[in-house]
Subunit: 163 residues, 2 copies
């Protein structure tokens, strides 16, 4: 059975909080607090609008489900620096390059809004090395680590790229 | 003429957005965007409440003015990690140790809310070295730098302390 085609879309729609929560849960790499934050960002952005909230979303629709999404926005009190707050792809869509497509679309969107640099944070745990490899493959450099930032033994890794 | 005594207080009151904006402006080290963010955090916290907003404030009243303040709160998706988002002291109050008093009170407040670590960010510009010296004097360690994080030539310095 063939899967429906994937189409990138913005902005958010009313069905997205539940669908993005389902995607983030299915991704299998986020904990309960992170899943709640992901949903809350979508709800807040729908309520306030992307520009007021400071969050811009790109959604990869596949039939009635969300196969992946990215969320980025300007970093307050910086000049043309944006952060990639979220990027997540469903396990089924991971082999098809959807992560790279979302990253490229996020970079293009950020550039269109004035970004010259995009930063992305990750855990420095061993099981986050696939995330690091993804950022490196997209041209990002590991700028800094903060040990034990999330909890003991789970530090922060800050990646960045000049767009 | 002697100045009125300084008294630490929380929570926020309705006069604080204007008074904290005046203090942050008078501090002389924050740009227009940062001043706007400082005020917005106060307004948002008054509207939502400290726990819902995730921002806790300590105000140093001196007569009808604010001589200094600190703002801290839990870092989302971390375990018992808090960030010191703001600490500012009026030029007139800087020699009296008010910065250290506010820092000690913020650490105590964060610990009471479960914090085991407090992080604080700063610029890595040469003119921010007094801020770095203040953090070091309070027992903070420079964990990481991200070059050009705020703008070209103005990087990020991340300090932290185990409470």
């Amino acid at each position: 059975m063939s899967r429906p085609p994937i189409r990138l879309r913005s902005p958010l729609c009313a069905a997205d909080p539940a669908r993005i929560e389902a995607l983030v849960r299915a991704a299998g790499v986020f904990n309960a607090a992170e899943i709640a934050i992901a949903r809350e960002l979508v709800v807040e952005t729908l309520a306030r609008g992307e520009d007021a909230a400071g969050y811009h979303f790109l959604i990869a629709d596949q039939g009635d489900a969300v196969a992946g999404y990215a969320c980025y926005g300007p970093i307050p009190a910086t000049e043309n620096r944006f952060e990639l707050y979220w990027i997540a792809v469903s396990p089924a869509a991971r082999r098809g390059g959807l992560g790279q497509q979302l990253m490229a679309a996020a970079e293009m969107g950020a550039r269109a809004k004035g970004a010259t640099h995009l930063f992305a944070e990750a855990s420095d745990r061993a099981d986050s090395q696939p995330v690091h490899a993804f950022y490196r493959a997209c041209g990002y450099t590991l700028h800094a680590r903060v040990p034990d930032y999330h909890t003991d033994g789970d530090g922060l890794a800050i990646f960045g790229k000049r767009l």
